[in-house]
Symmetry: C2
Subunit: 137 residues, 2 copies
Amino acid sequence: MSDYTAIELGGLDEWGSGGEHPGKRFIDAELGTAHTGISVNSTEPGGESPFWHVHSAIEETHIVLSGRGEIALDDEVVPLGPGTVVRVGPGTWRAVRALPDSGEPMKWLCVRSGADSLAGVGDDAEIDSERPFPWNA
Amino acid sequence: MSDYTAIELGGLDEWGSGGEHPGKRFIDAELGTAHTGISVNSTEPGGESPFWHVHSAIEETHIVLSGRGEIALDDEVVPLGPGTVVRVGPGTWRAVRALPDSGEPMKWLCVRSGADSLAGVGDDAEIDSERPFPWNA
């Protein structure tokens, strides 16, 4: 018996919002992954993460496909555009936004791995809802 | 010290060939990932994997962004198009092609994880250069 799962997201221009986390779709459960966390994201111009977060163990890789934005990494801000890929290691706080003048939503993927199992991927996160984003400071 | 790495791939239409594996760029080393394997792929219409391969431990997730193709999963063939995401578990043999009439190169990402470390990601692969692909049979 072959072990695979296939889902259809539609083209980039169809990636949209909805669900519990507007603009963010966690496809791990849909795919039944054992080790790989993946979210598919569409952030409207001027939209931003609801909070900072950090992981104690896993690494996240952000892959931007279209639109323009910024990622805050502790006290640094790195510009994001089509084809920007950012690896973020454990212990570094992060938050993302699409630029208000992006012109189009920022479409991006976030890949999480490094825990022993996918169950561990989410459990090592901590959030900070109080800390201001650098672009709002 | 913030722990991150950022690289620029350029837009999808700039993803191209070159290097040791034409059309396939492993960005793990460029990013310095510890646990996550990622390749960025551009497969010309009619182009295909150089061989079948299988993993004993890790899972692979193929994310298609543009173009049309097929993935062979043991004896099954699943169509690929923009937004198709396929998780392939350990023990399932796989090979990919872009359709000859795709009209444009197939741009896709392959994410690997599940080994204890990235060093283990490649070591669990086996290849079969003799087995014909279903689309050539």
